[in-house]
């Protein structure tokens, strides 16, 4: 995939996330999704403005943070620390 196509996909994904996670009808409950309290859109723009490699690195960090959080929650559920 060329870098420009890859960047276009990033841009579309950022706009999609900005809408699907923060806008639209919400009738029941409070849906909150964040990555380490950083606004996803601004995180995404930083991805756009830096290199694709840097973007990949940021995504890996986000994934690792999510996995760590999940593991922590699992640990709490099973009584582990």
């Amino acid at each position: 995939m060329s870098e420009s196509v890859s960047k276009e996909r990033e841009i579309v994904l950022i706009d999609l996330l900005d809408r699907i996670l923060y806008k639209g009808v919400i009738i029941w409950g409070d849906i909150t999704i964040s990555v380490a309290n950083v606004d996803l859109v601004y995180l995404g723009l930083k991805v756009l403005l830096t290199s694709i490699e840097k973007g990949d690195e940021m995504r890996r960090h986000a994934t690792l943070a999510a996995l760590a959080d999940e593991a922590l929650q699992d640990g709490k559920r099973t009584g582990k620390s």
């Binding site: 923060y22 806008k23 639209g24 009808v25 009738i27 409950g29 409070d30 849906i31 723009l45 986000a62």
Partner: protein
């Protein structure tokens, strides 16, 4: 459990056939429809009590909403809305029905387009911080502060003027619009436009003509995406608590 995608008008319309989401996500989505007065709730059964916001789930949600958008007006539901079952839906819909119905009428035939203008103006990044370690008299410090403040004000005024010219030019083609100027220093304008479907080509042409119309040359990078379902133009409702919802981290 049921997962909600959208509210639509025309509950009598058959559900659309959904495009495959590619080799990565070949699973079949069995959509269901629950008519409620003159609107419809579109949902699918799900074994999960929460929906992680990963790539597959995000694109599945969007694909369903976009497929619905092809032949009806949609009010897209925010990602991650899961309910115990459909039996509770009518009671939950009743109090918000007037708002949903008004939104469906207001958004009929409309699409959303996103525009971001990334700013490369060197002076926007070129406001030096005061060097507090340098030996300065009080007067020198205040003069430096004043100079810095004036420069920041000048940058801000230039940004506001440029953003206003872009937004005014595009808004004339839109039914409604939202915009933020300089939400972060490198983003001059972040805007969403609600466009009638038959105005989409004209809007695209207007975006293409912006560098010459608003005379910014290569100062800005414009990022325009869409058409999207009108996520940014649905009315905010007071949510009822205790919905099962997606709250886990992003894993794209």
């Amino acid at each position: 459990m049921i997962y909600l995608y959208a509210f639509t008008d025309h509950p009598e319309l058959p559900l659309p056939s959904l495009p495959r989401l590619g080799q990565e996500h070949p699973e079949h989505i069995e959509l269901q429809i629950l008519p409620f007065r003159d609107l419809a709730v579109i949902y699918s059964q799900t074994p999960a009590s929460s929906m992680p916001p990963d790539s597959a789930n995000i694109w599945r949600h969007e694909s369903v909403v976009e497929a619905l958008m092809a032949d009806r007006t949609v009010l897209p539901v925010r990602f991650g809305a899961i309910l115990e079952n459909e039996a509770n839906l009518p009671a939950m819909l009743a109090p918000v029905y007037p708002t949903l119905q008004a939104d469906l009428q207001r958004l009929a035939g409309c699409l959303e387009v996103s525009l971001r203008a990334l700013w490369k103006a060197p002076e926007s990044q070129d406001v030096p911080a005061l060097d507090r370690s340098a030996a300065m008299s009080g007067v020198e410090y205040m003069q430096a502060r004043l100079k810095q403040e004036r420069k920041q004000t000048m940058v801000r005024q230039k940004a506001e003027k440029l953003a206003a010219s872009i937004h005014t030019f595009l808004s004339r083609l839109a039914c409604e619009s939202h915009c933020q100027v300089l939400p972060i220093p490198s983003l001059l304008l972040k805007a969403a436009y609600l466009i009638q479907r038959d105005q989409l080509a004209a809007f695209q042409q207007a975006v293409d003509s912006l560098p010459t119309t608003c005379r910014f040359g290569d100062e800005l990078d414009l990022l325009c995406t869409g058409p999207w379902p009108p996520y940014s133009f649905t009315t905010a409702l007071d949510p009822i608590p205790n919905l099962h919802s997606a709250t886990s981290g992003l894993t794209l």
